[in-house]
Amino acid sequence: MTATLTAAVPFTTVIGLEVHVQLQTRTKLFCGCATTFGAAPNTQVCPTCLGLPGSLPVMNRTAFELAVRAALALGCKIAPFTKWDRKNYFYPDLPKGYQISQFDLPFSSQGALEVVDPKGALTRNVRITRVHLEEDAGKSMHDETAGTGDTRIDLNRAGTPLCEIVSEPDLRSPQEARAWLNELKLLLVYLGVSDCNMQEGSLRVDANVNLHIPCDGGRIAKTPIVEIKNMNSFRSVERALVYESARQYEEWQATKAEMGKTPKQTRGWDDPAGVTRAQRHKEESSDYRYFPEPDLVPVTVSEEWLAATREAMGDPPSVLREALAATWKIPPYDADVLVNQGRELVSYFEDLAGRVGEGKVASNWMQQDVLRTLNERGGSIDDFPVRPAAVADIIGRVAKGDFDTSRAREIFAEVLASGRTVDDVVASMGIAAVDDDELISLCRELLAANPRVVADVQGGKEQAAAGLIGQAKKKNPNVNPGKVRAMCLELIRQM
């Protein structure tokens, strides 16, 4: 089977996503236990998250506020009244035998988030069905090292607040799905709702996918919906969806099986093998016997509280992009690149742009120098050793004509590598402004040594002068190439 389809495909891929994000709270959803990642197993637990007899849940208000912030940014309607429900099933990492979740009255619904692509290749408004809050289960680790195949349970994660975001099936390609997830992640990180760290399980994605295939007579055949699980990166999501579309198309060609005749199938993504595999049908777990959680009281949300929450939440990326482009007069592409790097980088840029006074110049430096080296080094922009003041200093000296941009890059690299000040680096590199007398004598030397260039220029080929610049830099690294060129042309004209 081919796992990729490169050419135009004879069907439409229809994708809906279910995203679980762990909220950035210090404590769990219904008890005071810490949510720190990586603690020793079963050290962040108490009677409530262990599900001990007699223990009771109490809602964490911060978790609710963060979830509402996410829903507001997704344009959702916030229910004035919401309640908790129990989802009942047995599993060893679910110590109460039920998960506290929200069933028929989620706290928010009916939002939307656009797929963002500055190049305009992908634009799609994806509707959000609902956003609800629930508690996470613990972790089961099936350990075969002991030879007995023991299963170990870590309940540190049990009771961690999760926000479940369910989209309508509005996405039309695996690439769109990935782009949309990137935008969603960016939004949630910007709002401080979640760190969205997929490696630590803070963001998990399940995808529902099927194909709409045009048939003879204008009829559209719809393949059975498949839910894909176990994707641990956005890249995996895209790959799994590409694979699954191709697989469904082949299956449809062979069987002509359409939606509605079989129950929804669940398939797991096998990343190393690059395939989805059918998972066992779990009929017995399909009836969760949801009912209202009697240990918790319903939550009512007032307009005043909502207004205050909206006020405190800050701008989402989509608003920030436009604001950045307008304020600093940079192209939408630049604003997109900067905003996509996160709020801290935007602050760095705004600091730099403010000092330089020219948004586009600052943006170019951000993209070509700061971002490139930051990506090479890793780490956060807040820890980046060259601060906006130093970059602005270097840019300012270029503007004054002290040295050219390529020389400036060398200085930037040296400041970054050595940790010294711009002044220090400039001095130690022997960079000094070249005065006009020096420049004239240097150019005369060059012209004397290159009669051919002189002849070419006199013959009308001005670009031949470029050949002199390299030689000039060899003789004196501090010369400004533009000035060398202009002076040489002037001297030839005077000949």
Partner: protein, 517 residues
């Protein structure tokens, strides 16, 4: 006067004044437990050493002039459904045999903070499911008035130990009558407070929206003393009420002039034992004599109470009891018996997360669950888990659970309407006096009807109190019930106290409680 003959109010006063040491009071009750409980089986565990240590510490505190708590030196028996960190908490179930919680229930913590002396944990119907105490995995409680009879349930141990003077007061819990019915059958006073008045944190849940902890004692005055300590807002229980706690003992002797008590004629229909009917009518007459007005009222949906209760309570229980699966604590079936066909037990699938498929592991797991629960739970608990699971299942939810919630709202409205006309509602607690052990245990439906007069109080979330109002010719106590609007505990206690000043039914003791010569 022996400590065991004293009221709780007198006992704590005597300890505070130094007329009685906490140690002597505690020893007196422990001695009675030792002498009598072999026949009654009211206690599942007695913490003799812990109780004596606590009592000695209280006496020491007094000697040093340190302030004493409001219950200083008062021995208290606690239903085994409340968590105690220093004593087993079993809910009378094999499932939790020997289980020691790592924490105290909020009520237990408040008792300790008030310098009460916890003497032991009382027997009950398994997970508080039952009305006879025969559903205990550790044997039934015998009614002190007639050892061949049931004490009622589910707080049968708490009722019996107070009736036999093995403790001056006890803590019970009431989901559908589990304080009031055994109090009635054992001739003591038991109060089910308004839902949310007393924290449920640390009460092993049966049906969360109905469960409520309350005091059981020999008089309204003693119930008031205990309630004042255990009531109040607990931020650890989201359903706990924030309303301040009044001094329940302060207003007890105010006369009942102007108080309107509702009487429901339908309560006196077929099925009510004539002796009980007679005693209840006599009690109404006594209240009239005490200045109250008796007004006949209608509770139109009361006859749907038992059916509604036996949907809502099992539904919640089926979920609340899911945690007893053998995985983390409590009874687990022997691993050797899990997979007879597959030596080495279950097989795990590596790298699979929650809900992942893995035939070998999952089937061994399911088998462990099934066997652990089959072995750990008794028949009544299983019956209710099955009833609740069924009623919550897809396709049945609307017909059963959702409909029961609607009827519950109607019943609640009945109470709101009734309390427009009256201040209290009076009537029988149960249709008969104590029945024989084994008499109803073979017929679950007959047993469910025992709750006829008590379940609506819980469905409505209001308060109710039960106290003795006479005896059958055979010498068995008969109970009277008063119900009140939410948070009207002061009126419940005051009306009961006034009645107890006019009558002496509550002072009578069973023969077994008489001191040995």
């Amino acid at each position: 006067m022996q400590p065991s003959d004293m009221s709780a109010v007198d006992l704590v006063t005597a300890v505070r004044h130094g007329d009685l040491t906490a140690l002597r009071a505690t020893e007196a009750f422990l001695e009675r437990i030792e002498r009598l409980d072999g026949q009654i089986n009211a206690f599942l565990s007695v913490d003799r050493e812990g109780a004596l240590r606590t009592a000695a510490a209280i006496d020491e505190k007094r000697k040093k002039g340190q302030p004493l708590g409001p219950l200083a030196g008062l021995p208290v028996a606690v239903k085994d459904a409340l968590c105690t960190f220093d004593q087993p908490t079993t809910c009378a179930s094999k499932m939790l045999a020997g289980f020691r919680p790592p924490y105290d229930a909020e009520v237990v913590a408040r008792l300790r903070a008030a310098d009460a002396v916890i003497v032991g944990k009382t027997n009950m119907d398994e997970f508080a499911m039952g009305g006879s105490n025969e559903n205990s995995a550790f044997g039934p409680v015998h009614n002190p008035w007639d050892l061949t009879r049931a004490p009622g349930g589910s707080s049968g141990g708490s009722a019996a130990c107070v009736a036999a003077d093995m403790a001056p007061v006890a803590i019970g819990s009431d989901t559908g009558g589990s304080i009031r019915q055994p109090a009635g059958l054992c001739g003591i006073t038991g109060l089910k407070p308004t839902y949310g008045r007393v924290s449920r944190r640390g009460l092993v849940a049966f049906a969360s929206s109905l469960d409520q902890i309350g005091p059981m004692a020999r008089s309204a005055g003693d119930c008031a003393l205990l309630l004042e300590t255990i009531a109040g807002h607990d931020p650890g229980d989201a359903t706990s009420l924030e309303s301040p706690v009044p001094p329940y003992g302060a207003d007890l002797d105010r006369p009942l002039e102007g108080v309107r008590i509702g009487r429901v004629p339908a309560h006196f229909g077929a099925g009510l034992c004539p002796e009980v009917a007679h005693a209840v009518e006599e009690a109404f007459a006594a209240f009239r004599a005490a200045g109250a007005t008796i007004i006949d009222i209608d509770m139109p949906h009361a006859d749907a109470g038992v059916a509604t209760y036996y949907l809502i309570a099992p539904c919640e229980a089926s979920s609340n009891l899911a945690r007893y699966d053998g995985a983390h604590y409590g009874h687990r079936a022997e691993p050797g018996r899990l997979h007879p066909a597959e030596p080495g037990g279950h097989r795990a699938e590596p790298g699979k997360g929650s809900g992942a498929s893995g035939g070998g592991f999952e089937s061994a797991l399911v088998e462990m669950y099934c066997r652990s629960r089959a072995e750990g739970f008794g028949p009544e608990v299983k019956r209710r888990i099955m009833l609740g699971t069924y009623a919550l299942s897809a396709g049945y939810y609307d017909a059963y659970y959702a409909k029961a919630l609607k009827v519950r709202r109607l019943i609640r409205q009945d109470y709101l309407d009734a309390f427009e006309k009256v201040d209290l509602i009076g009537g029988p607690v149960s249709a008969t006096a104590a029945f024989k052990l084994g008499e109803k245990s073979g017929d679950p439906l007959a047993m469910y009807l025992v709750d006829l007069y008590t379940v609506c109080t819980n469905l409505a979330g209001v308060g109710g109190i039960s106290f003795p109002c006479g005896f059958t010719k055979g010498g068995l106590p008969i109970g009277f019930q008063l119900q009140a609007p939410a948070l009207a505990e002061p009126l419940l206690l005051r009306a009961t106290d006034r009645y107890q000043h006019l009558t002496d039914w509550h002072r009578r003791r069973p023969a077994i409680a008489a001191r040995p010569r």
